[in-house]
Symmetry: C3
Subunit: 342 residues, 3 copies
């Protein structure tokens, strides 16, 4: 596929500096770009690489004097990159139609223009929307519902009765609707509390590989519109995650936690259960969230504290043994002083 | 399904206060219960919700004056909830018999009343007990054994020769019997140490989604009766986990660790290898277990220390930068004092 | 299979003390060895167990006087164990040929002596080398390439266009080539940045169960020759991991991190993105790697610091509340002193 620079600039509402009639056939990083490709500067750390790039054009937020080719000025080069990459990226591979090697229960309703790969299982009374792609090894339990345009990559499991919205992307191996971890103690034995609820995933959610999202004890575990989850994330039963929230890899959210909208949570973070994290809060990586976080708060750490304080605390950590010595020294001096004063 | 309150009370050995002839058709949380359903108060944090509940009856540990309907008095409302939910919960979906789309080696022995979904693989000389349910995508390696009444959810992998007991529940994607992580160094190269043992899972164990339990180098990795594991847990080779122990999500247990009975381990905890954790020990979430823990000990933290001390330490953590300043100030003052004293 | 002790000694370049004509039919741990088996002492912690072992011969690095049977002296008993175990271990179970129940695209090229189990999917234009074993539930996307002698255990997913080298072992459930976690913000919405690169895995890599290795935004995420990864590891887009590096379970490597050769990283470690970890660096378990690490450095901790300093810091952690008290006491005393001096 080829586009003129003018066409590209129109897509991203940018302004071309230089010849807007050159044709572009791809987008690449500064280091790897070839002639005919456009590249971008989204982070000033990479400014040096512009000298050596072979890209034919650049996306920039301010004119780069040292680059001789045409440039497109945009306010947000990352966003422009995302949109242009959409033009040139390989489309998601699609099986042509429904494979005869798929196992599809005859009570299942399939939408139009669906791709179902071989080695898949779709259970009784499942509803599959239009334009859905179901990769090999996917298993969809009874009465589940998959909305229009969603993509389930290989080995995804959707347990019975779970609801997946429109344009949801779920990467390989992710499990939606396994039982929440609930047991009641009967003397020394642990008796399973049946998990009677479901998982509901709303529109435009993207879930990375190897997430587990447990079904609710009652009601639903609920991932709202536009949420983006990285890999290896654990979402316990009855959690709600608000719209457009982003969570990085290997984080675990404990039971019944309520997370607001547009929250950002760093990787490897853990929370206690039954707390609330307010809208637009930010939580740094590796944090231990032992209590609720208010809207707009920026916290980090073990345990969480204001983010700047945690950054300072990290600088103090390697000095704790030194503190220990200094404290002891002061105490000794003081002792001597006290003796002398007697 | 409907039961009278009297029938329910008998099941859970409770005492009915009020009309025991009303019929109950479900159990729900206080917020979501409708007329005809029973609810429960297992945590006093939710006491306020009783005012607004539409439940027709309640499970309580002491009479709630403000609730007008009949109540069942029980000593442990959580346990009663677990048992009643078992009455009303949707049974595990079962494929009717053995799917012709399953791949079952002809040397495999299948018990009575087995459900085998399509898209499953059962290898040579495998033994499957009675009443077992095997969901789509499950793979069971040669010579493995699955006991009566066990449930393997989608995409579970059982490697060759591993032994699964009776009434074991394994959630989607969990891997039993992958090679332990063992390498010997040959100069700069790492030479694989063949992992010649197995994994043995005893009766009544429940394993969440996406656990990995590695086979032993020699002998067995052993999960004993009644153990309950949450999601994303890693159990390394040659670990033993004692009866009725509970481990929360994203915890990792290193090689050859021996864990006793009725231990409780919080989420995101990690251990060093070759240590022992005694019976009934409790280890808080996010802990770094760098040494053995005695029976009955309650520890937490990075590194583990008595749990109460860790709680205090967490309160001190945000004050470390302040300590730093105070220490410096004291030292300066002392210096001046010393000079003046000269 | 049986071998004389002499034959075994020749394989591992060891020296036999005692009768080298006895026959050996297996290798076992000291505790579990039976007559006819050889055992080994790789760790002096287990020296006591030699008294009770029933092994007929031992691998040792120095003669054990208390053991009456023949011994093989070797410089590295662990390595010798690895090599001998290779003689006696059960070979990887292999399906005889290509199962008619596998779904293999007709444009796919299969090498000689390939095992393809039932319930597998191999997509268009995939290349599979000689002697490859593909277990049930594996899904290999379009245009991917698997080198000679590689083993893909059940439920492994290889996304389209990814490249797997020769003699690579990938354990169950691992995902290679899922999209990197990249989004650009468009107001409050997060717009997906198409991930246009691949994952390349070089020869002799072993990857444990449930790893996720994301495809690059551009170019490749690259796991170089001889790398060994444990279970539940997350490798983000555009990471490079150098030859013979070892990473333990549940570690996460953030985007664009460059890791050198022969690095050792402990379990549950996390890193920030875009840093460099030099050749032969060692990073302890549970670390927070917030900045680059130089070649040969040995670091640990939250945050990373020299390993010995972290060990001391761990000893100080349980004393922080005591420090707090001691500091306060000193301040009070000082206050009184100052008053008296006035």
């Amino acid at each position: 596929m080829e586009r003129t620079l003018k066409e590209i600039a129109e897509l991203i509402e940018g302004v071309v500096l230089g010849n807007d009639q050159i044709t572009i056939n791809g987008i690449q990083s500064l280091d790897d770009a070839c002639e005919g490709e456009i590249s971008f500067l989204s982070d000033n750390r990479y400014r040096d690489r512009i000298k050596h790039t072979k890209a034919s054009a650049l996306l920039v937020s301010a004119k780069i004097e040292s680059f001789k080719g045409p440039q497109i000025l945009v306010s947000n080069p990352s966003l422009a990159h995302a949109k242009i990459a959409g033009l040139f990226s390989m489309p998601v591979p699609r099986f042509p139609g429904v494979s005869p090697e798929a196992s599809i229960d005859k009570t299942c309703r399939l939408g139009r223009n669906v791709s179902v790969y071989p080695q898949t299982y779709i259970g009784p009374e499942v509803t599959i929307g239009n334009d859905v792609v179901i990769f090999p090894g996917v298993s969809i339990g009874a009465q589940a519902k998959i909305g229009d345009g969603s993509i389930l990559y290989p080995q995804v499991t959707i347990y019975h009765a779970c609801m997946i919205g429109n344009r949801v992307i779920i990467h390989a191996g992710t499990v939606i609707g396994s039982d929440g971890f609930g047991f009641a103690q009967d003397g020394i034995k642990n008796i399973k509390i049946p998990q009677m609820g479901i998982v509901q995933i709303d529109d435009d959610v993207e879930i990375g590989a190897h997430n587990t999202i447990d079904r609710a004890a009652f009601g639903k575990t609920w991932i709202q519109r536009g949420v983006k989850l990285d890999n290896h994330i654990h979402i316990a039963h009855n959690v709600t995650i608000g719209e457009d929230t982003i969570i990085a890899a290997q984080t675990g959210i404990s039971g019944s936690v309520q997370i607001g909208k547009q929250v950002i949570i760093g990787g490897k973070t853990g929370t206690v259960d039954h707390i609330t994290i307010g809208d637009r809060a930010m939580i740094g990586p590796g944090s231990y969230v032992y209590q609720s976080v208010s809207s707009g708060e920026v916290v980090s750490g073990i345990p969480i504290m204001p983010h700047r304080k945690w950054l300072k605390t990290l600088r103090i950590m390697p000095r704790l043994t030194e503190h220990h010595e200094r404290l002891r020294r002061l105490e000794k001096k003081f002792e001597i002083l006290e003796k002398n004063n007697d």
